[in-house]
């Protein structure tokens, strides 16, 4: 009950940390393998994510990104491999197991109820109640929703309109905000900006920054490579079921990233690194100061 009333307390308890001063990894996936019949979907993938770190997970279609994330979210059970969460070895057989540890996944298809209002969607399944749990505490729900949206800098002036009437960016923001209300330690976003207008992409990218500043680790799957350099600390490139490259987002050029994704070794990997890298590093310093 009281936990539902302050849904994002957990996220606040986690001290804001940047990737630089992290000592314990939030999650380490070690040598994850998964085979579907004749297809090797994952051929021994090792991935680590620090607290508050934003990882961009990229790769061509069928590279294994989604499978890897489903393993992490508990929707797919790997054939072999080890997952260590906050220093403890864990194994998931259902998404619920992963969620209880604080791993939330926001799916591509938004997963909101169009006919229910913003506040209702934010607290769907965990509504604040009164009268001994019999009735919804609607007023409390709208107050919490407002507080929650403000804390995440989400600009939705009204919490009592159905989400069906919102723009794509606002809907995506509500979906992410909902995942954050669970107080996650790790947030997996699958193509959050795929169907959005340019201005709306900004909303979502800012939201990712806000969330990670609160100490939540974020794994971002996207095909919009330009977004990655805006928000990510590291870029992990998958290729045919393996982790092909683990790059520092500040020291990597778009050309280098593309060549890794298509596994094209002929392109000079050093070209253009310096320019993009410097800008990103400066930006990070100012952000760190702001925090």
């Amino acid at each position: 009950m009281s936990d539902e009333a302050t849904p994002y307390r957990k996220a606040e308890e986690v001290k804001p940390v940047t990737s630089a001063d992290s000592t314990v990894d939030r999650v380490v996936m070690r040598d994850i393998r998964k085979r579907y019949g004749m297809v090797d979907a994952l051929r021994g993938v090792t991935l680590r994510v620090g607290p508050g770190e934003v990882i961009g997970l990229v790769g061509d279609n069928a590279a294994g990104k989604s499978t890897l994330m489903k393993v992490l979210a508990g929707a797919v059970v790997p054939d072999s491999g080890e997952i260590v969460f906050d220093g403890r070895p864990v194994s998931f057989s259902t998404p619920r197991d992963a969620r209880e540890l604080g791993i939330e996944m926001v799916y591509q298809d938004l997963a909101l109820c169009d006919d229910i209002d913003v506040a209702g969607n934010l607290f769907l399944g965990r509504e604040p109640r009164k009268a001994g749990g019999l009735l919804l505490d609607v007023a409390q729900m709208h107050r919490d929703a407002r507080r929650h949206l403000d804390a995440l800098n989400i600009r939705i002036p009204l919490t009592d309109i159905p989400v069906g009437g919102l723009s794509g960016g606002q809907r995506q923001a509500v979906a992410i905000a909902r995942a954050v209300t669970f107080g996650p330690k790790l947030l997996i976003l699958d193509e959050p900006t795929a169907a959005l207008a340019v201005a709306e992409v900004e909303t979502v990218l800012e939201l990712i920054k806000t969330v990670s500043a609160q100490g939540v680790s974020v794994i971002l799957i996207t095909h919009r490579l330009q977004d990655l350099f805006r928000v990510c600390d590291r870029l992990c490139v998958m290729y045919e079921g393996t982790l092909r490259a683990d790059l520092d987002a500040r020291a990597t050029s778009l050309e280098r990233l593309v060549s890794e994704i298509v596994a094209h070794d002929q392109i000079d990997p050093g070209a253009g690194d310096a320019a993009a890298g410097d800008g990103r590093r400066e930006n990070d310093t100012t952000e760190g100061a702001r925090r």
């Binding site: 998404p95 619920r96 969620r99 799916y107 938004l110 997963a111 909101l112 109820c113 169009d114 006919d115 229910i116 209702g120 769907l124 399944g125 965990r126 509504e127 109640r129 019999l134 009735l135 919804l136 609607v138 800098n153 600009r155 939705i156 002036p157 009204l158 309109i161 159905p162 069906g164 009437g165 919102l166 723009s167 960016g169 606002q170 207008a197 201005a199 709306e200 900004e202 909303t203 800012e206 920054k209 806000t210 800008g279 400066e282 930006n283 100012t286 952000e287 702001r290």
Partner: protein, 347 residues
């Protein structure tokens, strides 16, 4: 991109140009709210127009006796329509309610004739209704068979069972038993079925709009997968709504049988159409996700007023069915084509 630009963007959370684009406009809000209530207002207006029309054209329409009679006539429909609002809000349908009315009325009369205690008989009949709903719900919600087919099959099974149990004859109910008061009694001049209907309508409204269960019913009809991912047991919710219609139909069967002092296997024919018309007329979407309890109440009253008024105008009662079917078709047309223009509706 320079450092200063970046910092500003971060702090403002998107920048001025962005916020202008994403802010929800007042008109969007107005549309959403009008969309929510427009149908209820529309059906309210239709009801008032009909009331005025019949009050001036039919001599005995606007008398206390006739109004109470009208309300008593519509009570069983209203009770089942309240439950049906939940079912239709989940994007389901229950066609078996008319047959359940016949079966419960018939069985009530039969077991009373066998000397059962009326209270026990009432409890048993209501339990049977809930069981019928449970079977409907288990097949549709747990086995994912379209509820249209499940309840259509159940319609046939229950009607057949009622016919088999009564051999087609009406079974009289002894007027001395207290249970007859359910259909015929009055409290402070108001018929008992009307009081029951009002209480059930109030509870139904509270449940749909103010409880987690009501929220999940709407969520299930709107985007069941989304609701399931939040950890709600959607199958249980999907089953529960059919238990509600089964229970309500059994109660309606009891009210009708005790009103007539007789249980008939032919009772409640076309009842499901009347109930569904009342619900759809009130603005509840057949595609799920939108349910209006107030609308359902107004819808049921409108149907009652039309049936009652036409009879008082000496129009052939056979026209009532024609009018009802036409209203259903028009209401669905309005739901999906006219009201869909308001922002809130996307389906």
């Amino acid at each position: 991109m320079t450092t200063s630009e970046r910092t500003t963007t971060s702090e403002r959370g998107g920048g001025a140009a962005v916020s202008e684009r994403v802010v929800t406009t007042r008109s969007a809000r107005a549309n959403a709210h009008i969309g929510k209530h427009a149908q209820t207002i529309a059906i309210g207006v239709v009801l008032v127009v009909l009331l005025i029309f019949f009050a001036f054209s039919a001599d005995r329409f606007a008398t206390t006796g006739n109004i109470l009679n009208l309300l008593r006539q519509i009570s069983p429909t209203l009770i089942v329509a309240i439950a049906m609002t939940f079912v239709i809000s989940t994007s389901g349908i229950d066609l078996s309610v008319g047959s359940t009315v016949a079966l419960s009325g018939s069985l009530l009369a039969i077991v009373l004739q066998h000397g059962w205690d009326p209270t026990l008989a009432l409890v048993a009949i209501l339990a049977l209704g809930a069981l019928i709903g449970f079977v409907n719900g288990w097949f549709s919600s747990y086995q994912n068979i379209p509820p249209f087919i499940v309840t259509l099959a159940m319609l046939s099974i229950m009607r057949g069972t009622a016919l088999r149990a009564t051999e087609g004859y009406s079974t009289p109910i002894d007027g001395e038993l207290w249970i007859v008061q359910l259909g015929q009694g009055r409290v402070a001049g108001i018929p008992v079925p009307v009081i029951l209907a009002v209480v059930i309508a109030a509870v139904g409204w509270l449940t749909l709009t103010r409880t987690p269960f009501g929220r999940y019913v709407i969520g299930l009809g709107s985007n069941g997968e989304s609701l399931r991912r939040t950890g709600v047991n959607t199958r249980k919710v999907g089953l529960a709504v059919y238990v509600l219609t089964g229970l309500a139909a059994a109660l309606a069967g009891v009210l009708i049988a005790t009103r007539l002092s007789s249980g008939s296997s032919n009772a409640g024919s076309g009842f499901e159409l009347e109930v569904i018309t009342a619900v759809v007329l009130g603005g509840t979407s057949l595609f799920g996700g939108r349910g209006s309890m107030l609308g359902t109440i107004l819808g049921a009253l409108t149907l009652g007023v039309i049936a009652n008024g036409l009879v008082l105008l000496h129009v052939s009662p056979f026209y009532v069915q024609i009018v009802q079917g036409a209203i259903l078709l028009l209401a669905i047309f309005a739901n999906s084509k006219v009201w869909a223009r308001f922002g809130a509706v996307r389906k």
